[in-house]
């Protein structure tokens, strides 16, 4: 028979002021199994806790009910208290007679009656509680960072500097992501290459970092501390161990394909390095454009030319599996494909209507025009330039209501660069609002206007060609009239969107995305770099549009979270997880289907049945993965799988107690 102790808290006047705590304690005293009932002014205080300890010792209590505030407030306080008493911390139930009783019922009599009911339910439930002990999960101190833009690079470096092994994956053939494409960065106008290439080479040289380019995640199994990850590394057709990166093959390759890195402003060869400062600084062969690999022609000139014989057309994709303790998702962003969304801006018909990134490649020294701003159509220097902001952002009709955060600043940067590099240029910026939320951002925006950028408040309704000029027709809402600005070149600051295959990757990591595909953080304010799946963290634009300063800050935060995880050899899992009674389980896999975390699997066991020893299937719970939601317990018809802490017996007793 249980020996229960009931402690009713006054909570100063919060509870005692609204209901008769003495009567509740007295009523509790008469409940079956209750050996001791008392009330006290502040149960969570030192003296209150001491009262509990003394009562346990004196009355040999084996389970405790605290009638006080919400369990969400002090459940842990009282669990910690029980740790240094003979009573198991989980032989405890809290009756919420403050937030859900004293504070919300004016009638003192009804409040008291309800409090008695709530205490009776808690006592009935605690009678069926069982001592629970935490399970411990080993931690592999090795991290996997997916995506090697500035976010992934920074996170990998921080984790590696903390002394842990890191594998850094990058889908493309070189790391650097979008940042390395930029010319200058706001607000300091640092040259983007100068501040990112050193980090890229540091990554390549770091002893703790294994860099794997052309690699994507094939599958993820296991759980926090023990993720079994299969990685697919695409065939490079160039043996990077032998190749010295001399570039001879690139000069001889006959194939001409649009360069993705240079935003299709120029072409590249089939064996190529995306840009001069690529890391690893060795070329790869693109199977879709190499004539020999497509099988169109014999070619193979690069193989013939290569002094070291590094070219190998028989190269195959490699599948590497490894175990990681933590995973950081840093897959970054892509620019929205604006052409189909904006037929009114010519829908991609006019080559002189370019995106911000294409402009960055034009103005970048290592770009197709060696930094000279020449418009793509006739390579002439554009005198009149129009910059259109919020193309695809902040526009429900075009499918994205969010603001892409960084374009206000880099459009001011573009205006400044054009005015500086092209004497006599006239720059008009069409804007709705200019948002400058960072340090020195507002001052940067002022400088752009002082340089002569003309900011017109209104959206561009139509861009059309007339007399050799691109007419940007919009509205100046401040003057309240339509306006038409002829331009030689138009830069569209297009919206950021998540990487193409992000939903697929999130499905593998069992983390969710929002409606647009941005990865869902555990809590927007309190846990921005964590996800619902323990051990999987986020950094950078994959979580939502952001600029480089925020991205680097998040990368550091994610690295810190990984280091916290790796600081212990094992993690304490919550004991309130599901458990299976193998005697009752008939292996119907109803629970396996409903588990959101794939924490329950069918396993074959040896079992003595009437017809002798047989093998049969039963459900098994993986303590690391189970988050304790209880969907399996409710789906199990025979009650074989049950959620410890909220077992069927406990809840049934709680329901019965309500109506006595």
């Amino acid at each position: 028979m249980s020996r229960t102790g009931v402690f009713v808290c006054h909570c100063g006047s919060n509870i005692a002021g609204a209901l008769d705590v003495e009567r509740v304690a007295a009523a509790a005293g008469k409940l079956p199994g209750v050996r001791y009932a008392a009330s006290y002014k502040y149960m969570c205080s030192e003296q209150g806790q001491q009262l509990v300890k003394d009562a346990i010792a004196e009355h040999e209590l084996d389970r405790i009910v605290i009638a006080s505030c919400s369990p969400r407030m002090h459940e842990n306080t009282f669990r910690k208290l029980l740790k240094d008493t003979p009573v198991n911390p989980y032989m405890l139930e809290i009756a919420n007679i403050r937030e859900q009783c004293a504070w919300v019922h004016a009638d003192r009599e009804q409040a008291t009656e309800k409090a008695v009911d709530l205490v009776r339910m808690a006592v009935a439930k605690v009678a069926k509680n069982k001592p629970l002990h935490s399970s411990f999960i080993p931690v592999h101190k090795k991290a996997l960072v997916i995506g090697a833009g500035i976010a992934g690079i920074q996170a990998a470096l921080d984790i590696a500097d903390a002394g842990y092994e890191v594998t850094l994956l990058e889908k493309e053939s070189s790391i650097g992501g979008h940042m390395v494409m930029l010319d200058k960065t706001f607000p300091t106008l640092d040259c983007s290459a100068c501040i990112s290439t050193p980090k890229m080479s540091e990554v390549a040289a770091h002893p703790n970092i294994t860099l794997m380019t052309g690699s994507t995640v094939e599958s993820v199994g296991g759980y926090v501390g023990n993720f079994d990850v299969a990685i697919r590394q695409k065939a490079r057709y160039v043996n990077h161990d032998i190749c010295t990166g001399c570039g001879l093959c690139e000069t001889k390759c006959p194939a001409k394909v649009t360069s993705e890195f240079n935003q299709a402003l120029c072409t590249r060869t089939a064996v190529f390095r995306p840009f001069p400062q690529a890391v690893p600084a060795k070329p790869v062969i693109d199977p879709e454009s190499c004539r020999k690999l497509i099988g169109k022609a014999k070619c193979g000139v690069c193989q013939a030319v290569c002094p070291l014989g590094a070219i190998d057309f028989e190269d195959k994709d490699k599948l590497i599996t490894d175990t990681y303790g933590a995973i950081v998702v840093a897959t970054g962003y892509e620019l929205v494909d604006w052409a189909p969304l904006y037929p009114e801006y010519g829908g991609g018909k006019y080559s002189d209507v370019i995106t911000g990134l294409q402009y960055e490649r034009l103005v970048n020294a290592s770009g197709p025009t060696e930094g000279k701003i020449l418009r793509p159509s006739d390579k002439s220097v554009p005198k009149d330039v129009v910059i259109v902001k919020c193309v695809g952002s902040r526009d429900k009709k075009k499918g994205r209501a969010y603001c892409s955060r960084a374009c206000c600043m880099y459009s001011a940067k573009h205006a400044h660069q054009i005015l500086e590099k092209i004497p006599g240029a006239r720059v008009t910026v069409f804007y709705m609002d200019v948002r400058t939320p960072g340090k020195n951002y507002e001052e940067f925006y002022d400088r752009a206007r002082e340089d002569g950028a003309r900011y017109v408040r209104g959206r561009v309704a139509k861009i059309f060609r007339e007399n050799g000029k691109l007419i940007c027709r919009g509205e100046d809402t401040l003057l309240g009239r339509g306006v038409e600005v002829p331009a030689d070149m138009v830069i569209l600051e297009t919206a950021m969107t998540p990487a193409q295959d992000i939903r697929e990757l999130c499905a593998k990591l069992t983390i969710s995305t929002d409606e647009y595909g941005w990865v869902q953080e555990a809590h927007p304010k309190l846990r921005p770099v964590e996800t619902q799946t323990a051990g999987v963290y986020l950094a950078g634009a994959c979580q939502g549009p952001k600029d480089i300063p925020d991205t680097v800050a998040q990368a550091g935060a994610a690295a810190a979270k990984v280091c916290i995880l790796f600081s212990k050899n094992e993690i304490e899992g919550s004991p309130m997880i599901s458990a299976v009674d193998e005697n009752k389980c008939c292996g119907c896999s109803a629970c396996v289907r409903v588990c959101p975390y794939r924490a329950v699997m069918l396993e074959e066991i040896d079992s003595r049945e009437l017809s002798g020893a047989v093998k049969r299937q039963v459900a098994r719970v993986n303590a690391g993965l189970c988050q304790g939601c209880g969907a399996c317990a409710a789906s199990c018809r025979t009650g074989a799988i049950d959620l410890l802490g909220f077992t069927n017996a406990q809840i049934l007793k709680e329901v019965d107690a309500l109506c006595l």
């Binding site: 409940l31 005697n583 019965d656 107690a657």
Partner: protein
């Protein structure tokens, strides 16, 4: 004595004065013994689907209420109204003899059953129509007589022959004096269509085939281990005791149980003495036809055929008897 059938209703109202009168009748489409509400009882046709067992040995019977806490109180439930079972046939009468032997005569006297039995007057009637599954004659019964009933009515066409077999019966007949006339009524000649080769020797020999696995596997194959046969059988008397607990106070009750259920033989610690259906059905047949005989001197099967008509797997105890009769002879 003779009783004109037209006066039956008056007799029933005499019987029902201050007492609960149970007569065969339809309750929601199921013929069973029900409280008489003035309608004409369904005395002819096939026997009731549910036996009168429920009256003396109810499905669920409150034994006592209790209150825990500092001073525990246990209040036994004693209220028991006078009852009359009217329209009983020979087979059901024999089943009451069996129950009496179990609950009263042999070994420990069950106070609950005994109290109910003492307050029950039984008016049996000659069997007016043997069902297709009836075989009471093979079990040594005469469908047209019920020697142990308080009052027995034999069927004389437009009137009943009335005779009292016990003093209670005789005392009761005094109240009917006004409607009784002299003269007796010839015994009716109802016979069973089914006659399995049951006999006392077979009952003795049955325990001999306990280990004949092949036979039992074949006989018990179709059984689905439900409780239908137990709960329609007039003589199954197994019960389970449990509490309906309502937080420290509640009721202890006794309710029907069936040896066919898987958890019937579940011992503490999980061991089950009769885990397979072969063992359980064997136990049931042998208990009905052999074990009971050893202790109480009569078979526990009265041949009413209710289990045969209601068995989902169409198992048939009569066929079993014939089959084992062959096996036992050679």
């Amino acid at each position: 004595m003779r009783l004109n059938k037209k006066d039956l209703n008056k007799i029933l109202s005499i019987l029902a004065e201050g007492r609960e009168l149970f007569v065969p009748g339809q309750v929601r489409g199921i013929k069973q013994f029900k409280l008489w509400e003035g309608e004409a009882p369904e005395l002819d046709g096939e026997n009731t689907i549910l036996p009168p067992k429920d009256i003396l040995f109810p499905k669920t019977e409150k034994m006592y209420t209790y209150k825990t806490g500092t001073e525990a109180e246990i209040a036994e439930i004693v209220d028991m109204p006078e009852r009359i079972i009217f329209g009983l046939r020979a087979c059901d009468m024999r089943s009451i003899e069996c129950m009496d032997s179990v609950f009263i005569r042999e070994g420990f006297e069950d106070s609950f059953y005994a109290r109910r039995r003492a307050k029950s007057l039984i008016v049996a009637i000659a069997c007016s129509g043997a069902g297709v599954n009836c075989f009471c004659e093979s079990m040594g019964l005469d469908p047209n007589a019920a020697p142990s009933a308080d009052i027995f009515l034999s069927d004389g066409g437009d009137c009943y022959g009335v005779e009292a077999n016990t003093e209670r019966g005789a005392a009761e007949l005094k109240k009917w004096a006004e409607y009784l006339t002299e003269g007796d009524v010839p015994k009716s000649e109802t016979h069973c269509s089914l006659a399995p080769a049951m006999s006392r020797e077979l009952s003795k020999k049955l325990t001999g085939i306990f280990d004949d696995d092949e036979l039992w596997q074949e006989v018990t194959g179709p059984c689905i281990q439900c409780g239908t046969c137990s709960f329609v059988c007039p003589t199954c008397y197994c019960f389970d005791i449990n509490q309906a607990d309502a937080g420290g106070e509640g009721v202890a009750f006794r309710c029907w149980d069936s040896c066919m259920f898987s958890d019937y033989n579940q011992n503490a610690g999980g061991h089950n003495t009769r885990p397979t259906k072969k063992q359980r059905l064997r136990n049931r047949y042998l208990h009905k036809l052999a074990y009971f005989n050893e202790r109480h001197g009569m078979e526990l099967c009265v041949g009413c055929g209710r289990c045969i008509s209601k068995c989902p797997a169409h198992l048939d105890i009569a066929e079993f008897i014939d089959k084992t009769a062959e096996v036992c002879h050679d």
